[in-house]
Symmetry: C3
Subunit: 420 residues, 3 copies
């Protein structure tokens, strides 16, 4: 983009100005130049969560996803393989498939009927002459990986190789849930009025949970995300110690069941940022629902045993909670410097029947409410960053360590990305 | 504009990067810098179609037209002469006349009642003192030409001289239709969600007609706009040859009737880009209506004979179809990099009475529907150009030659314009 | 802001290009770069009117005010002192208090419950560790002055010292009205679709009143704002001379009553631009109401005598009319290059009871209508400035002297501000 080039140096200066342990300089959250650079570098050269395998369950299913200014299409071809391409006709650049999901035999551009096979080959280009080299005009492919049923795409021609590390860690953890064969019970789009990095920061801490997420807190242990050990009330200390004990007990059971549970973190130094850990669900321990019981009568995959907890997975633009009865898959996409799309999918066993095996309102209540609460907080933070009164503030080393690492990772990736 | 100066070099680089035979580099369609440069150079220094003489039929009629950031007013003065001025008071810059059409005795600024005669002279400026030199503050005139009833304005103080060529070609072709004395039966504004050049490209080919304009195709021969001769079905070949035969027959009749019909093209090398040709109307051959019959019982001007076809005229920002019973006059104005106003006027004999001599819905049906279909296509193309997956694509040498020439003309005019 | 730095030179060039006696170059009204520079320099380094003391009448009352991209909070602390701070939490930058007015015990950030005393001290920061230096993270204070009950804030750490001059002139003039103890009977927000400087220019002349403000003109002498003495009708001359006589008569009475009335102007050469004068109210002379009679039965402060007129006060972003029965306080805030918020407060004696002592519609009618009329005019002027047909126009030396001085003041302050 034109704007990128003219403002590259100021963005570099802002990145260089970031102080460890502190939030980013304001313009990295608010300026158009930083937004364009984020789209080009973070969303243009990294593995970005884009959906789930069951978005395109059958051969011929296709889904369009916007990643910043880019639009890609993800499809399942006639051999049941997943593929992704830029959603741009090679002729006049028209969008090939409309927003959302559709079903196709071939990909036919609505503008002039240029027609592509599901492997992206240009099969038909009317009126282009007998000498037209169709093979120079196939669809531009986009790298796509299915990691345990969660889809990651990379717009770069040279995608980071460490997606293999993500797959190695997550495939065994996700395998019991068989997400590839789940179904989407509900999908929700929310626009948060803030920069995508504020959306991600907000998600990477539970420091704000106690006073902002009363319903989520019923099934969520905020202490999982850190606390200041020197400033606990007696009650809090008892709870914190109780949780440590619970992890010791559950850990032994999970080990016995062959369920990986230890935290794995790839942040600074890894292009493909992720963190996973098996969490204990609070309350009755079954699911993130208003009563903390399972919302779905038919379990996901091969998970029909108690106490499997929540396989929690953070990524560059995603967060996920995979539980025995359902999974909640969140993806975040930059729309503008001050607007971020958060798309939430609730996955259940594909044999579960709404109204019989689950009540949709009960299934979705906790995260619908939590999403609304988070959108409010992200907007407050963005408006603050717009102000000349904003100064980068200190992260808690107890409850916001993950944000500090995310910011450090971001700065290092942006610096590396621009130097490439 | 500030932005022009700081981004002139990048726009020049984009213009230089354009490959012959291909669509433009993406940012020429999408960036604010290219949009501002287009407004300054294409819309600021060329003859732009702005309306029709019968927009201001009577002395004192005035119409405001926005051309990008400029607003001009077009009026008919007390001697029935057409004039145009910037729609900007010389005092504090307020808009003199409101959007659309009005009727005035003099032009009175609503802010402080500065009052101008219809020749633009400042007649009254209250409280400016006895020594105030009113003659230094007359309205700033805008060059205006009436070509067969179609109005062209040029914002430059040095308008291209080749408007005389357009007039020489078009006056005899338009004379029988007497558009200057027609009336506007209907006017429609549509915002297309795409760059103005995508609007113009879309209009300059009928490659997309078969699959997108089912109703227009009843009265329109897509083959008029080219085809790949090596890839026709037998049916298509028979139709194409039949059309060639029809042009031979009609041409002889048109010659006998003294009706010019041959194509005239002024594109690369001419500031005032236009193309005209007399087209055969398909179907029953009378008019671009759902049943291809004339929509109006009273013919335009002196055209009461069958088979006069369609005087088709393309311009920089306009396209026109002038038929015996009615004319459709299209003008396109840039609103934003991704927004273009398309204003369509349906002209009929001023003596024709709605409900008696014509049914408004029947008159306007084909192009209302076609405009809606085109707006959708232009939006698809613009969204594609926004994507990092966009690459300039190849034009068909058979069906998109006119687009290639338009792009070449555009690049040459922008380069010439900025060097001036 | 990033944009400031990259476009500083163009703004300086525009400032240097301004011709005395003429409106500003167009881009100073319309460009994003000039807007950002205005926010940084005019609204960032000068005393800006932000409200009234009775906005926060009781200890614990707090009000948020946006000044361009900045948000500040104004509160009354437990010792009844007025204070202002940036409305930005020192932790993650979230907005501390919501838009408008609220009541607090302490300032608690909704995000993570960081808690500040009303003097801005950080009292509580959970989970930050025992060694956390809270005193480094107090709220950032904003300079605040109460001048006769009207509040002025300055975002700079080095506020202009000449606020003392404003206070010295205005305190005795405003004292009889006791605005500090008034109450807000009504508040109205209007967005004007124009640059803030066009809003201020529009307010600083009454050249446009006769033809645009029929209702205001009943209680307002446009002649107070100048006229061309050589071009009056006999009637106008008689009126103008009558007004001069009236000022002589009223001046003697005001002198006798100890009511200051002479005009005081601080414009070019003073950072804190203001003008004040006691004006005669037209018609029956009591108040700016539809019938020019007092709207409120209980007078403001100690003003229970006839003929005190209108203490008129202009500021950088404000205008005010303080009358015996009520005061109208206007503040204008930049929202975007082409959008300005005008906030109007009608103040009455706090003991006056709506429906008994005053009718709200009668109280607010004149300025509600006038505000709507002015918003229309400002939009016309802004649209004109957007046009390439705009040229800086001449101010009347009789009726627009104050605008010329405002423009000159603006250029000098912007030049000084950027050199600092």
């Amino acid at each position: 983009m034109l704007d990128d080039r003219s403002t590259l140096s100021p963005v570099m200066a802002l990145l260089a100005a970031r102080q460890p342990g502190h939030t980013l300089p304001a313009e990295l959250y608010t300026s158009r130049a930083a937004f364009d650079a984020d789209c080009a570098t973070i969303f243009g050269r990294h593995w970005i969560a884009v959906g789930v395998a069951c978005d395109v369950a059958e051969a011929g299913d296709v889904m369009a996803v916007d990643i910043g200014p880019a639009s890609i299409l993800i499809l399942r071809d006639d051999d049941d393989a997943l593929r992704a391409f830029h959603n741009v006709c090679s002729h006049r650049g028209a969008r090939l498939v409309p927003p959302g999901r559709s079903v196709v035999g071939k990909l036919v551009c609505p503008y002039h009927q240029w027609t592509y096979d599901l492997d992206g080959a240009l099969a038909l280009a009317p009126h282009m002459g007998v000498d037209f080299a169709r093979d120079l005009h196939h669809l531009k492919p986009v790298a796509l990986r299915d990691v345990g049923g969660i889809l990651y795409a990379c717009l770069s021609d040279d995608p980071p190789a460490d997606i293999a590390e993500l797959a190695a860690v997550m495939e065994p953890r996700l395998a019991p849930y068989d997400l590839r064969n789940a179904k989407i019970a509900f999908e929700q789009d929310v626009i948060e009025e803030g920069n995508w990095k504020l959306t991600m920061e907000n998600n990477r801490e539970c420091y704000h949970c106690a006073s902002n997420h009363p319903q989520l807190s019923l099934s969520f242990h905020a202490a999982d995300f850190g606390y200041d050990p020197a400033n606990l009330t007696e009650t809090e200390r008892a709870e914190a110690n109780g949780l440590l004990d619970a992890y010791a007990r559950h850990g032994a059971i999970w080990d016995a069941q062959g369920l990986p549970h230890a935290a794995v973190e790839h942040t600074v130094g890894w292009p493909t940022n992720f963190r996973t850990q098996r969490l204990i669900i609070a309350g009755l321990g079954e699911s993130q629902t208003p009563d903390t019981r399972a919302a779905v009568g038919v379990p996901l995959g091969d998970t029909d045993r108690p106490g499997m907890g929540d396989v929690h997975l953070w990524g560059i633009n995603s967060w996920n909670h995979v539980m025995s009865d359902h999974a909640v898959i969140f993806t975040a996409f930059p729309v503008a410097p001050d607007r971020t799309l958060v798309r939430t999918r609730w996955l259940v066993n594909r044999d579960a029947v709404e109204g019989e095996d689950y009540d949709l309102e009960n299934l979705t209540a906790v995260w619908k409410q939590t999403n609304a609460e988070d959108a409010h907080l992200v907007a407050l933070a963005h408006r603050g960053a717009m102000s000349p009164g904003y100064r980068p503030g200190p992260y808690s080393r107890f409850t916001e360590r993950a944000l500090d690492e995310f910011a450090t990772w971001y700065v290092s990736r942006m610096t590396a990305g621009s130097g490439a």
